[in-house]
Amino acid sequence: MSELMLTLFNGASLGSILLLIALGLAITFGLMNVINMAHGELIMIGAYVTYVMQNLFISYLPSQYFDFYFILAIPVALLVAAGFGMIMEFSLIRFLYKRPLDSLLATWGVGLMLQQLARSIFGAPNVGVKSPSFLNGGLEVGTLLLPYSRLFILGLSITCLIGIYYYFYRTASGRRVRAVMQNRQMAECLGVSTRKVDLLTFAIGSGFAGVAGCAITLLGAIGPALGTSYIIDAFMVVVVGGVGALFGAVAGAFGIGFFNTAFEYLTNASIGKVLIFLLIIAFLQWRPSGLVTSRSRSLD
């Protein structure tokens, strides 16, 4: 029983990380039909921002303030990654709208360069980020010990989700994003500046990748190729969840998170991966364009 609970908890934990990563992907793909392969590198940037913040705190501030570095790193990671995203959108991606496969290749190239850049600056070996002391230890529930760091990630992604929900469904700017997503030309005709919406949305998606990178530092050492290990699973979330609504991404992320953990628990890591892949293929037989899609009469 307790093992089942632990599997559930680990699944939720993995799902929450995937959700953080996949949200940005789903939005940019749904909005602009752009596949951002450099999303993984934006995660990596977020992680290294946390690392840099930690080092800054160690060298310039007295040690009793050390724990605050992590709190501060989250917004900084968000801003830095969003900045990178904006530069990417402005200099490259806006030329590739409606060419998803081309955008995929070009952003892969960008990702390759960013990885190499990280390797030149921080070196190829992984670096460790020390968790703040308030995230050490865990919550005891019965016989289980739920690590605070994982609970924190869960809370963080729920907070982000609420934030995104509020933005999309309760603000004028979010409404414009949804309008462009559903019918770009009509939105344009009604006076929405689609350029601005694209730029802003891409920046938001990238920013959440940065937050995800910040959260991932709690789970282990970080390296230049950090993003690649998460990005494919995150894309799977988009494929399974569909791009129509936030709910799709949430269901996709937690679904893949749970099944992944369960399969790996029941078999082993490599067989588990095969099983989850087959499960996704089988799922797509039932829902070819993902769980939630925005319906439209247009073809192609």
């Binding site: 793909f29 039909n33 596949i35 490259l92 030329f95 590739l96 998803p100 496969l101 081309d102 955008s103 995929l104 290749l105 070009a106 892969w108 190239g109 960008v110 990702g111 390759l112 360069m113 990885q115 190499q116 390797r119 030149s120 690649t228 494919i232 894309f235 799977m236 988009v238 494929v239 082993n268 890591a269 490599s270 067989i271 991966k273 095969v274 892949f277 996704i280 293929i281 797509l284 037989q285 070819p288 364009s289 993902g290 073809l299 192609d300």
Partner: protein
């Protein structure tokens, strides 16, 4: 008059024959080491043709061709390994305490069967995945993402099943092929010629395929899938067919690769090599068949040249190449050649306009 000479010089047949002549004469003026490298590049070129058939003509982008390449390569490597150990168990199996030859290794004792399986297994995997994804009109981008996930899954599987596949170190230390010393210069030259012949056959076969009615249907599927559907064609059948052929070609390329390189490991078939294969096609020019061959040889030659002395800059260069090709050279090198040719012809036309008229009437 001059124009005609240019045109005949640039005509594809002559260019093709020239390239073929150079490839056939290469053993005369290249050292064994260089010839081996060229042979490796040509094996990659075979794969690039198959990938172009899929992406350039049918508009389906697969980021998973490394896997089909790898399955072919592993099939050949398993046979070579068994021949090298002379009926005994391969060393890594003995280390992990296996007593008998595992069931999936048994067919690979026989060279002919291994070669057939090296083509058949990737083809079947492609057929399976292609049928399930194209059948219910999954978005093209979703397919691309799935094909990349396939790479991750298979590579994880190959690394995980260490006692069956040799794990991260892969399969190496081969000795003989059909009883001939695999590392001897003569055998390598023969394998080189086999690779050239395979390349030519694959090229001509694909050329024939796309020149005919089938090729037009494929381009139709690429440019307007729904229109083709309304015209009564079933695009998913065509896509599945091309994907299967493309997988088989990749398997063939993998087998020729192992024979010349003498090692295959999961890192050679992983996510990064798979997406690099796409770059060969993109740089050469998709939908041209000859372009990908040029792209594959060019990029790999550049990689061998640069990456050993400046590995860091090579990665930057590779990344930049992805961006440059997509943004500035969507038609690749072949598109550039076409443009130059047009410009050349135009200059000529200004010199003597009569030629242009003549051309128009003919």
């Amino acid at each position: 008059m001059q124009n005609r000479i240019y045109q005949s010089v640039f005509s594809r047949k002559i260019v093709f024959s020239l390239i073929l002549l150079i490839l056939l004469l290469a053993p005369l003026f290249l050292s064994d080491f260089r010839l081996n490298l060229l042979g490796k590049f040509l094996a990659f070129a075979i794969l690039a043709i198959g990938l172009d058939l899929l992406w350039g003509y049918t508009g389906v982008l697969s980021l998973g061709h490394g896997i089909f390449f790898g399955l072919g390569a592993y099939a050949m490597a398993m046979y070579l390994k068994l021949e090298a150990t002379g009926g005994k168990l391969p060393d890594f199996m003995a280390w992990s305490g296996i007593q008998e030859l595992p069931l999936i290794w048994i067919p690979f004792q026989y060279p002919i069967l291994a070669i057939i399986l090296g083509i058949l297994i990737p083809a079947c995997l492609a057929l399976f995945l292609g049928y399930l994804t194209f059948r219910n009109r999954i978005n093209g981008v979703y397919f691309t993402i799935l094909s990349q996930a396939l790479v991750l899954v298979i590579v994880t599987l190959f690394i995980g099943q260490q006692n069956l596949t040799g794990g991260t170190s892969g399969l190496t230390n081969f000795s003989t092929f059909f009883g001939f010393q695999i590392n001897s210069a003569t055998t390598q030259t023969v394998i080189y010629f086999v690779t050239v012949v395979a390349l030519v056959l694959v090229f001509l076969g694909c050329k024939k395929l796309v020149k005919g009615r089938l090729g037009r249907v494929l381009v139709g599927v690429r440019d307007g899938e729904n229109r083709m559907r309304f015209l009564g064609y079933n695009p998913s059948t065509y896509k599945t067919f091309v994907y299967t052929i493309s997988g088989a070609i990749a398997g063939l390329a993998g087998m020729l690769f192992v024979l010349q390189v003498g090692i295959i490991s999961p890192t050679m078939i992983g996510i990064v090599p798979s997406i690099e294969m796409v770059l060969w096609v993109a740089l050469g020019g998709r939908g041209t068949l000859i372009g990908p061959v040029i792209g594959a040889v060019f990029i790999n030659a550049a990689k061998t040249g640069f990456s050993e002395s400046y590995p860091d800059y090579w990665t930057y260069f590779l990344g930049a190449l992805f961006v440059i090709v997509v943004v500035f050279l969507p038609k690749g090198i072949m598109g550039l050649v076409e443009k130059l040719k047009e410009r050349w012809n135009k200059v000529d036309v200004k010199e003597s306009s009569s030629v242009e008229i003549e051309k128009n009437y003919s």
